[in-house]
Amino acid sequence: MLVNYTDIWTAFLQTLTMVGLSLLFSTLIGLPLGILLVVTRKGALLEQVPFFNVLSSIVNIFRSVPFIILLVAIIPLTRLIVGSSIGTQAAIVPLVFYAAPYIARLIESSLLEVDTGVLEAAKAMGATPLQTIFRFLLPEALSSLVLNLTIATIGLIGASAMAGAIGGGGLGDLAITYGYQRFDTTVMLITVGILVILVQGLQTMGNLLARKIRRH
């Protein structure tokens, strides 16, 4: 059977688009949420326990919905935002809803790793809350943030494959439609191979970058 490389290339670009854009948007949402989860908890910089509890619950609710259900459940919202409920762009909306709370939790755990002594030093110096976040908390957590965002990116690649279910396209979709449904083993192997290389490459890059930040 002939392998259509144009299809594979198109699917590859669709995957990059979906993962890239949803990573961007979900980080833009997840980063502030993650910071809020850290600074509003009990005993923290801007302690607001009721706010923390509500925020934490909302994040948990979104995290507990399986992606495939989220994908379908928010179709009306997707249509409202991108004007359509199918296609690559439409897949980005549920991907963001899926990844943003996940990233918020990852960022939260990175920030919680920061030595409390450093934060005490910040307080002793008279740093404002914003200075504490941007000049102490985030720089100290940077290496761990990079590693956790790498995990999130790879998670998004997996989720984007499922987005094929609403016609999102991408490599995962290609592997399912050609390889699984049409028994085209070659295409399936090629797409899976590309996904393996992509994941390996991202993880290696993430590790290198994190080490570079840590070791300067």
Partner: protein, 343 residues
Amino acid sequence: MITFKNVKKIYQTQDQSIAALDGVDLEIKKGEIFGVIGFSGAGKSSLLRCVNLLERPTSGSVTVDGQELTSLSAKQLREAKQQIGMIFQHFNLLDSNTVFANVAKPLVLTGVKKAEIHRRVHELLAFVDLADKADHYPDQLSGGQKQRVGIARALATQPSVLLCDEATSALDPQTTQHILRLLKQINEEYGITILLITHEMGVIREICDRVAVIEAGKLIESGTVFDVFSNPQTATAKNFVRSVMQDEIPASVQQLIERREANHHIYKINFLGAHTGQPLLSQVAKRFDIDLNILHGSITELQNIPFGSLLVELIGETAEISRALQYIDEAQVTVEEVLADAG
């Protein structure tokens, strides 16, 4: 310089409240090095953290340099904190920042101009003898070097007070000496008031002018280092003093005490200050018909004043010994008989 008025710090847990500070009154003078010593959990850490309000007292007032910190707004308090430097047991440096950036941090926070930061940081690094380490990262430094970075950082805003939180507890004895000398130098050259907390009496002996002993959230004893060392009042203070002053009676001497014959009496003679310079024992030997046998002793210096004790055996007639003792007493040294069960 630093005044505590009836400061209480109470931690509320589910079923009980624990008083970390239980009505502390304290007055630290400008330019002195004041040490607070206590076992862990005695409240010394809370006491130190109440000075720059890292912990807010439950009641009472804290005044630093004439400003009552407990009544300031958040913004005023941030400004006041620039007058209070702090160094920590575990240094608390930013691992992601170079030595230069760490020292520059307090200046960056207050918006000091770049050129001025550059000048000031290099001056500070030269002062702590780390001029060549500006571009290094903390994980490339030894513990002593890290603490010197911490000290440079604490001095960046030219504070009038320096708080030291067990600053040498994570360091080896030799490095501890270097850091203590540096603190003394800071105190003398810049006139910065230093408040330090420690559980090591050696630190107090080395650099402090005055000391307070804290136990269960209360200051149970305080005074000049010389007074507390030479005449500790409480059991805790005595314990701390004993930890650095070798007044343990050696086993061989102990045996001698237990075996002693009727006409042998063993006394501990405590020398304070100028008396150490007097040829007291040789005078006693000349004036009275007794023999003197020095069994054990140590004389040290506290704040440049000699201080110590000798364990002396007096051999002779009982009447003659009591006359000799009376003579020693008049020389204003304290003398006490050592008995077998006391050791």
